[in-house]
């Protein structure tokens, strides 16, 4: 989107300003980047419970027959195979197998599902999905739907106090429809931090009240998109627009676990061809021998030759060194492989490592 276009604001914009948050454009929205500081917010999420305003993400509601409408053929996973009450992560691809978006589908009912997508890609996703459907009803409910993420090892205790015991037993990637503050909401045991946590969807008109209620708990502090990016990278999650895009396939990204070749989907032929021909370019994760961060766009070299580029990088407080992900020529992705990450005067010795970088999170607790 152009810079002159009006930024959208979440219903919590006033709350962020009241907390003196640093605000910046993200995906067409004016979002809080940090409050107390990225490192302090990151630590709070790893140790207590951090509250994120994620109202910018897109939500689409589908109603109709999954097979007859063609919804079943839209994504790299089967929606029909998701049990009601569960959700699944995967991709919307183009014909070339490139990733139009990474998303989560929530199976609300036999003939009802919610598709949750990235903010910047939401308008295009909606057009693509609608154009590929032959039936059913697809509704963009982004504006009416608010989303708060509560993430951290004590998030279960905090949220149980607000929502009741029902959420205490939720396993990972399961959700519960329930009433919060007298309105219908969905509490999902999912997140983007590597910690135990929940994503809460509720009507936009009620989100300020829920934010205030959660913030009244001394174990909860707000965290911005800066901390969110650091948290997700430490556990090796990809960020659409940085690590994933329409020129990148799930196979190159090492995310074939989220592709079901036993079903039909747009882009499948291209992926099969790529698999047969050999994957020439692959995502790699690495640590560097410095507190210096590899950064998006830095070159990756092996034996003095450029073999790829960094797509995400940051200083990891948990590891005490710089960490990053990028894409390199195949053959340089085995753990332990020595690489050099460089840009201008900066040259960092990097070592390929398995994901996640940080393994101590409370995600599965």
């Amino acid at each position: 989107m152009s810079e002159t276009e009006q930024l959208q604001m979440t219903p919590l914009n006033r709350h962020h300003r009241g907390l003196n948050a640093l605000m910046a454009p993200f995906g067409g929205w004016e979002m809080p980047i940090q409050y107390a500081g990225i490192i302090a917010e990151h630590r709070w999420c790893r140790e207590q419970a951090a509250l994120f305003d994620i109202c910018h993400m897109g939500e689409f509601l589908f109603k109709g027959d999954l097979l007859a409408s063609g919804l079943e053929d839209l994504f790299t996973f089967s929606v029909a195979a998701i049990p009601v009450g569960r959700s699944k992560y995967g991709f919307l691809l183009n014909e070339q197998g490139g990733i139009i978006d990474d998303l989560i589908v929530f199976r609300f009912g036999e003939q009802e599902a919610m598709i949750v997508v990235n903010a910047a890609t939401a308008p295009n996703d909606f057009q693509v999905i609608r154009s590929r459907l032959q039936g059913g009803a697809l509704c963009d409910i982004t504006a009416a739907t608010a989303k708060l993420d509560l993430q951290g090892p004590v998030s279960r205790e905090v949220l149980t106090a607000v929502c009741g015991e029902q959420i205490a037993r939720l396993p990972y990637f399961k959700f519960a429809p329930l009433d919060i503050l007298g309105v219908p909401a969905v509490v999902s045991r999912t997140g983007y931090t590597g910690e135990l946590g929940y994503e809460i969807f509720l009507p936009a008109a009620k989100v300020a009240e829920l934010w205030e209620l959660l913030m009244a708990d001394p174990r909860v502090k707000p965290a911005g998109l800066g901390a969110r990016d650091l948290l997700r990278l430490e556990v090796g999650y990809s960020l659409y627009g940085s690590d994933l895009d329409e020129q990148t396939t799930p196979l190159e990204a090492g995310l074939e676990a989220f592709v079901d070749f036993g079903k039909r989907f747009v882009g499948k032929e291209a992926l099969l061809q790529q698999q047969a021909a050999g994957i020439a370019r692959r995502k790699v994760a690495f640590t560097v021998n410095s507190r210096r961060a590899p950064r998006h766009g830095y070159a990756i070299q092996a034996d003095g030759r450029r073999i790829g580029e960094v797509t995400s990088g940051v200083f990891s407080p948990m590891l005490g060194c710089g960490i990053g992900m990028g894409y390199v020529a195949a053959g340089h992705t085995d753990p332990g492989t020595a690489l050099t990450v460089c840009q201008d005067r900066v040259s960092l010795e990097a070592t390929v490592c398995p994901l996640p970088f940080y393994r101590g999170g409370s995600l599965r607790s």
Partner: protein, 123 residues
């Protein structure tokens, strides 16, 4: 002893022929959480405006320019292990280098504290 500032937000505390150099509180705040400081070798020769050190925060990487020409005679190695001091005490404990002045007259092109404060208001 007098303190001077540059438009790039370094400060230099000049005493005799020595200048202790760091970054301003404004710059530290703008950078956010500092995670790394690269210091030069003692003995490095710099000209006014040369890159003398580098600093990284979670958000950004930037260079630190020498406010004066001369020889680096001391570096604050404590920042290797505790770069967060740049946020905690930018204009005191988190000094970065000490430079022996080659041309003390160069101080004349730097800003006083009052001039720097006025400059910040124009940003």
């Amino acid at each position: 002893m007098s303190i001077y500032f540059t438009k790039e937000h370094e400060w230099a505390r000049v005493s005799g022929n020595l200048a202790v150099v760091g970054i301003s509180g404004h710059a530290a705040h703008e950078l956010g959480d500092v995670t790394f400081v690269e210091l030069p070798q003692v003995g490095k020769q710099v000209k006014q405006g040369d890159v003398v050190a580098a600093i990284e925060s979670v958000k950004a990487a930037s260079d630190i320019y020498a406010p004066v020409s001369g020889t680096v005679v001391k570096v604050n190695s404590a920042l290797d292990e505790a770069p967060e001091q740049v946020n905690e005490s930018p204009e005191d404990a988190a000094w970065m280098v000490e430079i022996e002045l080659r041309n003390p007259a160069e101080v004349g092109v730097l800003m006083s504290k009052e001039q720097y404060d006025a400059y910040l208001k124009t940003l």
